[in-house]
């Protein structure tokens, strides 16, 4: 057998193997064919790709699949906002109604100047660690913001920061994914409609006399706000006032009479400032 024959056999053998595999692949391609909706890829393309989970689905892929299947609304992604919803609406062929913008809201106004402190907290610098100790952090209030910034560390949108000892939400950046609310050991963060004009910046459940000892700006549960409200939108539960954002008309009667100034006016974003 000379070199030429050897080469020939090799080439023919390889060609035959290649042909067999080719036939197998064509067969498998037909047999295991999966119908892919082109829209899913298109929707996924429009979604922001943070994989934040704010929509409630496992990442953006999951959300796109859910939208195409019709399980989720076209405006399911709070991060993409109105513009994404519109584009997805075009793809899906339905008109998109922009979801009401929601934001995180911290129910504490006890910054370094207002909240009374009882000592200095030394230890693991996370809120969860501080909250597990008797007496919690620096502040006397047991329900207030501990100011150690666990919410800051989980926010993927740079929308929450510790300012002067308490967490402050940047309403322009916040997409209401709710991660901060989940991680806060004090359960102080609430997701509220961005357009709500008034909110109670306190969560202290103690009675008035004790609250005064703990903080300059604590809800004393006096109930004046309840009396002032004409729309039955304010209620005092467990010595703290709560506003029902559905019923609130934003008249401001409660805030005007609040003796501890814990019901605060939330400036409404101007139209041109709104993030698209």
């Amino acid at each position: 057998m000379n070199a030429m024959t050897l080469l020939l056999i090799t080439v023919i053998l390889l060609a035959v193997i290649g042909l067999l595999i080719g036939i197998l692949l064509v067969f498998a391609g037909h047999k295991f064919h999966v119908e892919v909706d082109a829209r899913e890829a298109a929707v996924r393309e429009v979604l922001p790709g943070n994989n934040c989970g704010a929509c409630g689905y496992p990442g953006c892929d999951g959300c796109a699949a859910a939208i195409v299947k019709g399980e989720a609304a076209v405006n399911a992604c709070p991060v993409g906002g109105a513009s994404a919803a519109e584009k997805i609406g075009d793809i899906m062929g339905v008109s998109a109604e922009a979801a009401e913008k929601k934001v995180a809201f911290v129910k504490c106004a006890g910054d370094c100047a207002k909240a009374h402190t009882k000592g200095s907290y030394i230890g693991v610098r996370t809120c969860t660690a501080a909250a597990a100790l008797p007496g919690k952090g620096d502040k006397m209030c047991q329900q207030g913001c501990l100011g150690l910034g666990e919410c800051v560390s989980v926010c993927e949108f740079d929308a929450i920061h510790i300012v002067d000892g308490i967490a402050k939400v940047d309403r322009n950046k916040c997409v209401a994914c709710g991660k901060c609310a989940k991680v806060c050991p004090q359960h102080l963060i609430e997701i509220i409609p961005d357009k709500s004009m008034y909110a109670v910046e306190c969560a202290n459940i103690e009675k008035g006399k004790l609250v005064k000892e703990l903080c300059d700006t604590g809800c004393i549960g006096c109930g004046i706000c309840v009396k002032m409200c004409k729309f039955d939108a304010v209620h005092v539960e467990n010595n703290v006032a709560h506003i029902d954002y559905e019923k609130c008309k934003g008249c401001g009667a409660c805030a005007a009479k609040c003796p501890s100034k814990v019901i605060t006016f939330r400036e409404q974003p101007k139209k041109e400032k709104e993030v698209s």
């Binding site: 009882k118 030394i122 230890g123 004790l210």
Partner: protein, 448 residues
């Protein structure tokens, strides 16, 4: 008899010399007395008095609410000033009964009168202990009557009187064993009468030779009692360590001492049992050490429960100006005090004032873990704190439970020894409640 101990442990500076030589001083409180409704483990007691009600010393003012709960008695006479929420020593608002003290301490009828208890049945003794609101005075405040009713009373072989007092600085149990030896012995005898198969072991660390001598003298004629000298080692007074020292057996994970036929009671609890059974005297008074370099005159006090910490501090010569930190209990396990107007509750046994805050210094020196393994070597439970801490930092509860993190007694030994000054104990404290609920969830799943 050799010197018994456990595996692991550390040697923090004892600081017992500050107060060990000082006899108890009886503190007569002058100000209002405050009684938090939750001075024990378990459900808070429910108040029986109203505002402006007159009360006498030893009168029941709040009743145990549930099986694991304890009665609370007034330790002074006077009038109920208020039932309101006040801040406790850590600054947490708790429900309290406040009594305006008239300074007379007029006893309620029957309180303090000697009774012949030799004819009492077992049930009567346990009922008396329950009625008098006695809880574990070593620190945890577990209702003693519950402890005295194990499921296997005939299998109890050892009653261990815990006189180890391993926390640095505290000397009130030491003084109690020297000055009120008789009460402890009689209390132990009462408990022994409940368990016919048991023998009493009084366990004392060897840094308290006077107490050992006093106790050995007292048990000379007692057939069922002996004194066990323990090595001075922190945390020798932990229940598991004591059971091991006394019986040579290790308690299983999650088990109670009763599973090995042991009941562990603090010496102060035993003396309270004696006072309750023999004198019908509810838990009103206890030994308390005010110690640390921050006090002008560190002292051992016999103090009434409900006295404000400020009165105790004043009686101990006041605090030095440079005092950095106050701790309720000893420096190893005690929580920081932020409110001196808080009252002394049943389970408190010391107030430590420090000129230097070790934790503050440690935080400045904190560094990365170098995996030296010292924490593992000293852990009295044989856990691996280094790996547990990593699980805590990652919030990996499953791993934490797998490493038996839920057994951690938070004695602080690992944090003490760590050369990198890692806050190990705090991480465990934070994760343990989550681990407990995880275990409960797993158990429920298994049942379902």
């Amino acid at each position: 008899m050799g010197i018994y101990s456990f595996r692991g442990g550390v040697h923090p500076k004892g600081n017992k010399e500050l107060t060990a030589g000082k006899a108890f001083v009886r503190l007569i409180p002058k100000g209002d007395m405050v009684y938090p409704l939750s001075q024990h483990l378990g459900k808070p007691a429910s108040p029986l008095v109203k505002k402006n009600d007159p009360v006498l010393a030893g009168q029941l003012i709040a009743k145990a609410d549930g099986f694991i709960s304890a009665n609370i008695h007034s330790s002074c006479s006077g009038k109920v000033k208020a039932i309101e929420r006040r801040l406790n020593a850590s600054g947490v608002p708790v429900d309290c009964i406040v009594i305006a003290n008239d300074g007379q301490f007029t006893p309620a009828p029957g309180v303090g009168e000697e009774v012949d208890y030799s004819s009492f049945s077992k049930e009567e003794i346990i009922a008396k202990v329950k009625e008098c609101g006695i809880v574990g005075l070593g620190g945890a405040g577990f209702p003693t009557n519950v402890k005295l009713m194990p499921k296997n009373p005939d299998e109890i072989r050892y009653i261990i009187a815990n006189g180890a007092e391993c926390e640095p600085g505290i000397t009130c149990d030491d003084r109690l064993m020297r000055e009120y030896t008789d009460w402890i012995i009689k209390g132990l005898k009462i408990v022994l009468s409940l368990f016919p198969a048991a023998s009493g072991i009084i366990a004392i660390e060897d840094n308290k030779p006077e107490s050992i001598r006093a106790m050995e003298e007292a048990v000379k004629n007692e057939e069922r009692m002996s004194v066990l000298t323990l090595k001075t080692m922190y945390p020798q007074g932990g229940e598991r360590n004591l059971v091991h020292a006394a019986t040579g057996m290790y308690m299983e994970s999650g088990a109670l001492p009763a599973s090995l036929g042991c009941i562990v009671d603090n010496v102060a609890t035993l003396s309270a049992i004696y006072r309750a059974v023999a004198f019908n005297e509810p838990l009103m008074e206890k030994g308390f050490t005010a110690t640390g370099d921050g006090f002008n005159e560190p002292t051992n006090f016999m103090v009434r429960i409900g006295t404000s910490l400020r009165e105790i501090t004043d009686a101990a010569g006041g605090l030095k100006e440079e005092t950095r930190k106050l701790i309720l209990g000893g420096p190893m396990m005690g929580p920081a005090v932020s409110n001196l107007d808080a009252p002394l509750v049943k389970a408190n046994n010391a107030l430590t004032a420090q000129l230097e805050d070790e934790v503050e210094k440690a935080e400045l020196e904190m560094n990365s873990c170098i995996r030296c393994g010292r924490c593992t070597r000293v852990c009295p439970l044989g856990l691996i704190p280094q790996q547990m801490a990593r699980a805590c930092e990652r919030n990996d509860i499953e791993r934490f439970v797998k490493l038996h993190g839920a057994d951690c007694i938070q004695c602080g030994t690992c944090s003490f020894i760590c050369p990198a000054k890692r806050p190990l104990t705090q991480l465990f404290k934070q994760t343990k409640p989550m681990a407990m609920s995880y275990i409960r969830m797993q158990a429920q799943k298994k049942e379902a």
